[in-house]
């Protein structure tokens, strides 16, 4: 059942698409897996992603029945007989294995797959790695948005989620974990769990929308699929994902501010150096190159897109005065530094203030080489890894990924990232107590 629209729909905006080229053939599919993933897709449907087709996969036949999606795949009928996986990841994995052909059919012929999964339960945690691996094997780029269980839900769910997250990172280009604990922080004082989920939806929707717009909508700076894909040559890294919006006169300032202070960054002022940065700016017709430069400078200054920065700037008449910036980054952890050449950094940005202005290259050739940022961060990183052997050829080492530390909750552990996890009474006590207890903090 292959019915996905290979949409290249020239939507609103009106201008001539700058660099359509291969873009027109890009096939995008959004797949919701398991209970939570299915619900997410269902809620996304209201947003009409014209460029993408929607699909859901579950072990639970009755749950699937209730969803309206273009494609529905029931897996593990022989295992669960159409019932849920019972929060057991092993059951989910077996279910996926038993219906591998169906999953392969689902992902075949796709270029970009957004995988939406709630980790922690049975189907999601168990089947996601298999589905992602199948997609990758069929040649798709996979961007996974995964929600991570509340700490309060208990150690077993967290464990299942962490295992699945690690596996996903090994196969997907980008895996963006959304921690429910943190999402809870974003809601209002008396918000319910459902509202926290709605928050997650909003982030995912904006993320997908931004990436799709980057590929499909005309703009100042367009990105074609091969460039986007090329920005994530490595696996196993941890992702950076943040968004910011602004409106009116201060739009740029607001958007940058929101973006840099996003709770999803884990609150750190200096996250680990990021190897790749994809920055997409969505704006009304008022977007100017100086504005774009300002945004790119601020973002790279903070996150340091060392290896490369892919920049997209999309004009969308619907945006009006609104400006939205989406940043997706990936890093293989510090060890990737071996592959990155410090020399390349030195030439692009001196350690001092002068902010190198990235040249938004003409459409079709949008790759802005490492407009690098924070020399401090890099310096620190280099220092940390001094003494470690350096691979001369950047492309030579890819196997390294596996040994990278997959500290799933490192964003929340921050200062304790590099230390051994200490579990007391089933909880990782290095993660802030308020997060684990779901105590609302309004800074």
């Amino acid at each position: 059942m292959e019915e996905s629209l290979s949409s290249s729909s020239e939507t609103s905006g009106g201008r001539e698409p700058a660099a359509v080229g291969s873009t027109s053939a890009v096939r995008v599919k959004i797949i919701g897996l398991g209970g939570a993933g299915t619900h997410m897709v269902e809620r996304l449907q209201k947003n009409h992603f014209q460029e993408a087709s929607l699909a859901v996969v579950d072990t639970d036949a009755s749950a699937l029945q209730k969803v309206a999606a273009e494609e529905k795949v029931l897996i593990g009928r022989s295992v669960t007989r159409g019932l849920s996986a019972g929060a057991d990841a092993a059951v989910g994995a077996t279910a996926a294995k038993s219906d591998m052909a169906a999953l392969e059919g689902l992902v075949a012929g796709q270029n970009l797959i957004f995988l939406l999964v709630g980790l922690g339960g049975g189907t999601g945690s168990g089947a996601a790695p298999a589905l992602a691996a199948a997609a990758v094997a069929k040649g798709a780029m996979v961007v996974a948005f995964v929600t991570m269980p509340f700490s309060m839900e208990g150690g077993r769910r967290t464990e299942q989620a962490n295992t699945a997250l690690t596996e996903l990172r090994l196969s997907c280009e980008v895996v963006i974990p959304l921690y429910n604990d943190i999402l809870m922080q974003l809601t209002d004082e008396n918000a319910t769990v459902l509202e926290a989920f709605a928050k997650a939806d909003a982030w995912v929707r904006r993320g997908i929308h931004s990436l799709c717009a980057m590929l499909f909508k005309p703009g100042l700076i367009n990105v074609d699929f091969s460039v986007l894909r090329g920005a994530f040559p490595k696996r196993g890294g941890r992702a950076l994902f943040t968004l910011g919006t602004g409106e009116g006169k201060e739009a740029t300032f607001q958007a940058i501010n929101e973006l840099l202070n996003s709770p999803l960054l884990g609150g750190r002022n200096s996250p680990a150096p990021v190897g790749t940065l994809v920055i997409n700016i969505l704006s009304g017709p008022g977007l100017t190159l100086p504005k774009v430069n300002e945004i790119v400078n601020k973002v790279t200054e903070r996150f340091g897109g060392r290896e490369n920065t892919v920049l997209g700037a999309v004009i969308d008449a619907d945006c009006g005065e609104r400006l939205e910036v989406c940043v997706i980054g990936s890093s293989g952890g510090f060890r990737q530094l071996r592959e990155g050449k410090p020399a390349a950094l030195a030439e692009s940005g001196t350690g001092e203030m002068p902010k190198p202005v990235p040249h938004p290259s003409p459409a079709g050739m949008p790759r802005a080489q490492g407009k690098t940022g924070r020399p401090m961060t890099i310096g620190e990183a280099v220092k940390r890894h001094i003494g470690k052997q350096e691979a001369p050829d950047p492309a030579a080492k890819k196997v390294d990924q596996v040994e990278m530390d997959f500290d799933e909750q490192e964003m929340q552990r921050s200062f304790f990232e590099k230390t051994r996890r200490t579990m007391i009474d089933g909880q990782d006590v290095d993660i802030p107590t308020y997060l684990r207890r779901g105590i609302k903090i309004i800074p």
């Binding site: 960054l265 609150g267 002022n269 230390t419 006590v429 997060l435 207890r437 609302k440």
Partner: protein, 400 residues
């Protein structure tokens, strides 16, 4: 005869060395001290031995230079989550025909305690004797008493062999001989409690930068010790994440505004991050700060409460809970402790004879080490006697 001894506490945040001249006539003469911020330790465990060694040597040099002396003997405070304590028992049937307990009976009972095999990879750190029981009745000194069965017991603390050896290697690198290794909680207890409080029952909690070390006394004996890998740095990290700021700023906010309990006025109060209203300065809600800190502190005491469980009640801990360590400086922490533990808590007072500069709670451990050395040296001058088990434990020298 006096001897110069170094009390050494290499904590997660600071390395502290205090040199003192110990006089057998129960006098302790403070000579100097050296304090250096520690690098290479996280949560009480060494993550970078080289760095820790540098810090340690620097602290030693500072202290020795000030005192213009070289020290050979050291008392070392041990902490870290790898330390595990448990109660060990040994029994001996009284051999005398008249059922009088002899020294050899005592020795047999004691040897059964100390001859327990440790698991692979574990090493004995400290053995703290508990009272003897003669026919199930507590007898601090059973020698010469009449009975059938003598029981000896001790609170035995063992640690990960590699970790312990790493710590000891610090002292060895400086050609020090470690005369005594004491768990940090016990050392701190020496500094902030009196004998009477320990008799009545007290819980001493030393909240440091990376660990929280606690010891519970009942009738003058140690009944339980414990280490949790949670300390002031966790509060700082929580604040950094919750308020989205750097660790350095979070530390500043913690020291300046941190409270262990949320107060009524907090909801309406805002403070400035830097106070200069310049670039990067921003408003913070007091409530946010208090809530983050309160959650962490409450959880910490909650874990201790669960660990001690039934021992922790007003009757058995009649002398209350005593807080010390650097994090004891956190505002309202004694109230938070009282609330979470259900037993009155207070901040421990350091000995009156101490130099004012060393009276801050973060020095409790190192000061306690010296006090312990004092009683230890005292003991050595006398004939060995199996008297009060506790004092005897302190006399035991631990050499590696």
């Amino acid at each position: 005869m006096s001897k110069i001894v170094a009390g050494i506490d290499v904590g997660t945040t600071k390395t502290m060395v205090v040199l003192a001249e110990v006089h057998p006539g129960q006098r302790l003469n403070l000579l100097s001290w050296g304090e250096v911020p520690t690098e290479g330790v996280r949560k009480g465990e060494i993550v970078n031995l080289e760095k820790v060694r540098e810090c340690f040597c620097e602290a030693m040099q500072k202290a020795e230079k000030k005192a213009q002396t070289h020290v050979k003997n050291a008392c070392f405070a041990m902490s870290g989550y790898h330390l595990k304590g448990q109660q060990m028992q040994g029994t001996a049937t009284v051999s005398d025909a008249g059922n009088q307990v002899s020294l050899s009976d005592i020795e047999r009972a004691v040897s059964e305690v100390s001859n327990r095999q440790l698991k692979e990879g574990r090493i004995l750190v400290q053995q703290i004797p508990q009272p003897y029981f003669l026919d199930k009745k507590m007898r601090p000194n059973p020698l010469g008493l009449t009975g059938l069965e003598l029981e000896a017991s001790a609170w035995v603390i063992d640690g990960d062999e590699r970790a312990v050896r790493e710590w000891v290697s610090l002292a060895q690198a400086y050609s020090l001989s470690v005369r005594q290794m004491t768990v940090a909680s016990l050392a701190s207890a020496w500094a902030v409690t009196e004998e009477t409080a320990r008799q009545h029952g007290t819980l001493v909690i030393d909240i440091g930068g990376g660990t929280t070390d606690f010891v519970l006394f009942h009738k003058g004996y140690v009944v339980c010790t414990g280490v949790l890998p949670i300390g002031g740095e966790h509060i700082t990290n929580d604040l950094a994440l919750g308020l989205r700021m750097s660790v350095a700023n979070a530390e500043k906010i913690k020291l300046e505004f941190g409270k262990a309990l949320e107060m009524e006025g907090d909801a309406n109060q805002t403070i400035w991050l830097h106070g200069d209203k310049g670039i990067g300065d921003r408003k913070l809600r007091m409530q946010a700060i208090s809530r983050i800190v309160q959650a962490r502190v409450d959880e910490l005491f909650g874990i201790i409460r669960r660990r001690l469980d039934r021992f922790l009640n007003k009757h058995d801990v009649a002398a209350g809970v005593v807080l010390t360590g650097g994090t004891a400086r956190l505002r309202l922490i004694e109230h938070a402790a009282t609330r979470a533990l259900g037993v009155e808590a207070r901040i421990g007072e350091m000995p009156a004879w101490l130099n004012d500069q060393l009276k801050a709670p973060q020095y409790a451990t190192v000061v306690g080490l010296l006090q312990e050395a004092l009683s230890g040296w005292k003991g050595q001058e006398r004939a060995p006697q199996k008297k009060t088990g506790f004092a005897q434990g302190l006399r035991e020298l631990f050499r590696l």
